[in-house]
């Protein structure tokens, strides 16, 4: 077991991180957006750069522009918008289910912080004909312990499509 500890984080840390990310997914699927905002530190940066199709060995991520470029203020604005009666794209709301897997945790260079990488699959269904979209990506989070509670200080979402197959990003990831 010593080897495992040396290679990553202690089991109790990994369990706490997994529980935290699953709890976050529950808040979003249950549309408890205000509670979800509580999970972020005030200095959160929430971004989603653009995946491109390139020949190897070129990088497939372009950082100069993104799908999300958010701070706590703009995330709060998005949530306030969703709570109006004119947020047409998500009212009636999509039926969503978030699957968080492949969670890897390692200490960050800053004490009290963790680098966490996870895979996210978001199932999103609207309307009829059995139609649904899958939004899949690689998430890189920086988690910080604040008064003994885990909080998200940075999130970077890397989508696994260079042309996304959902009509808008009216959902959080």
């Amino acid at each position: 077991m010593k080897l495992q500890v040396a290679a990553g984080s202690p089991p109790e840390v990994r369990v706490a991180v997994a529980d935290f990310l699953v709890y976050e997914a529950e808040l979003l699927d249950d549309r408890r957006f205000e509670d979800w905002l509580e999970l972020f530190t005030p200095d959160i940066t929430y971004e989603a750069p653009i995946r491109v199709t390139r020949k190897a060995p070129h990088p497939t991520i372009v950082d100069d522009i993104s799908f999300f470029d958010e701070n706590l203020h703009s995330l709060t604005l998005r949530v306030r918008r969703l709570r109006t009666d004119v947020a047409w794209a998500e009212d009636p709301p999509s039926h969503t289910r978030r699957f968080v897997t492949n969670i890897r945790t390692r200490p960050a260079e800053v004490e009290e912080e963790l680098e966490v990488r996870s895979s996210l699959m978001l199932f999103r269904s609207r309307g009829d004909l059995g139609a649904y979209d899958l939004i899949v990506g690689d998430r890189h989070d920086r988690l910080r312990a604040v008064d003994g509670e885990l909080r998200i200080a940075r999130r970077r979402i890397l989508f696994d499509q260079s042309s996304l197959g959902t009509k808008n990003l009216g959902v959080f990831l």
Binding site: I50, V52, D69, T84, V86, S162, S163, K167, N168, L169
Partner: protein, 435 residues
């Protein structure tokens, strides 16, 4: 007159733009779509890229003209050319990535290779065997890549398959004066790469929305007023509706505040590139949206406050048809290359938050376009034609006489005049037999 009727007869009988009547079936009809690919996307000037995406010789991007994949590349002579992305030997794609930089195009199938001017160079990997396989030699001229005609205006690169098409400047016509305000006012550059995604809707719905629909903002984007981000829904009305002709269309939102909303650092560059009337108009612009026929849309969104400063980030769009009810969206963000850092940083953030794929405005539009397209398919089998209402402005006043820019300009943005011209241009092209 309905089911089984020849498609061109049905179109000429039912599409009545001048009366403000458009039949719903045209949004999603497969026969209409095939005609559009042949007679509009097969011969109109189409936007493919911005020059700043190809800074050096050998740089290329892969785009579409209609459903056809094309390579937009800067040759070793610095000229931008557009080629069908298809090997002359067996039709394999030559460029299989979104963008890149190469010295030659080499087909991954049999090695047929092409220089940056589209010239056939040989079958490189198989070179030792070429004289064995083709003892009589290959006709190099006949193997030149299929090349489109290219024109550029203010950094915007357009291409057409029609060698007899009118010159690009003539096709753009009056809309040039207004394109100058966004793309000619300074040295502009694309930031990064376009966002790309798929919307299940017909390509005309977003195009006409940008050309001639200021009225939807009060409802579709009502959250702005609801959250106190604008004083009232009047931001959608105050300004001008412009019908420049040739199927293009735009709306300009203006303010009467003292001073311009644009950065002081850029005023000298603006003044050096715009004429005095354009410069004066730019100073009043608080939003500007439009569409260049058929499928290039542009937008300077309404200025809003981001992180304490009033900014607006330019957006450019291409609605690439990908089936009768399917569009692949390209969404670029552009900014003044010499702009101050805060303008670039906050303008990019503003673009992403309001009008990118996650944009708080964009989301609601996509919901409408999809549901309209779905409904349109029901009209394919109904015995009576379902006519839609495009009459806003028909009972309004004439164009104003003293506006500094060209085209038919109406006071107030609430008019669908340019939408009617969009469908008139569209119909005329669909009914015109190829030469």
């Amino acid at each position: 007159m309905r089911v089984g009727t020849d498609i061109t007869s049905r179109l000429s009988d039912t599409v009545q733009p001048e009366l403000g009547r458009i039949p719903m079936f045209i949004y999603s009809d497969p026969d209409v779509y095939q005609l559009e690919l042949e007679r509009i996307f097969g011969r109109a000037w189409l936007f493919v890229a911005h020059e700043s995406e190809l800074p050096a010789a050998g740089d290329f991007v892969v785009r579409e003209m209609g459903e056809q994949s094309v390579i937009v590349g800067r040759g070793d002579d610095a000229t931008v050319r557009v080629f069908l992305n298809s090997c002359r030997h067996r039709g394999m794609r030559l460029a299989c990535e979104d963008f890149g930089s190469v010295e030659m195009w080499r087909c991954p199938y049999h090695g047929f290779s092409y220089g940056s001017k589209g010239e056939f160079l040989g079958t490189f990997i198989g070179a030792p065997y070429e004289h064995v396989a083709y003892p009589g030699g290959l006709d190099r001229e006949a193997l030149h890549l299929i090349e489109a005609r290219v024109g550029t205006y203010r950094g915007l690169i357009f291409a057409t398959w029609d060698d007899d098409a009118q010159p690009l400047e003539e096709f753009l016509g009056n809309v040039r004066w207004y394109l100058d305000l966004l793309f000619g006012r300074a040295e502009m550059e694309v930031v990064g790469v376009p966002q790309k995604w798929v919307i299940p809707c017909g390509w005309k719905l977003p195009a006409e929305n940008f050309a001639a629909d200021a009225y939807h903002t009060a409802t579709a984007h009502a959250f702005l007023a609801r959250l106190g981000m604008v004083d009232s829904v009047a931001f959608g009305r105050d300004g001008y509706h412009v019908d420049p002709g040739n199927g293009h269309g735009l709306g300009i939102g203006v303010h009467d505040d003292a001073g311009s909303y644009y950065p002081a650092e850029l005023q000298a560059e603006y003044a050096s590139r715009l004429d005095p009337a354009q410069l004066k108009m730019l100073g009043r612009v608080k939003n500007l949206h439009g569409n260049v026929f058929p499928n290039m849309s542009f937008l300077q969104p309404n200025f809003i406050e981001v992180d304490g400063r009033r900014v607006s980030g330019i957006m450019l769009r291409a609605w690439q048809p990908a089936g009768p009810g399917r569009v692949q969206v390209y969404s670029w963000h552009l900014v003044e290359r010499n702009g101050p850092d805060w303008w670039k940083r906050l303008g990019r953030r503003m673009y992403v938050q309001t009008f990118g794929m996650s944009g708080m405005f964009d989301q609601d539009d996509t919901e409408n376009w999809e549901a309209q397209t779905r409904n349109a398919t029901t009209s394919l089998t109904r015995r009576d034609e379902v006519m839609l209402h495009y009459a806003m402005g028909l009972d309004g006043g004439p164009p104003i006489a003293d506006f500094p820019g060209p085209g038919d300009v109406y006071d107030g943005k609430f008019s669908e005049a340019a939408g009617r011209t969009f469908y008139r241009t569209w119909l005329d092209l669909l009914l015109e037999e190829p030469q």
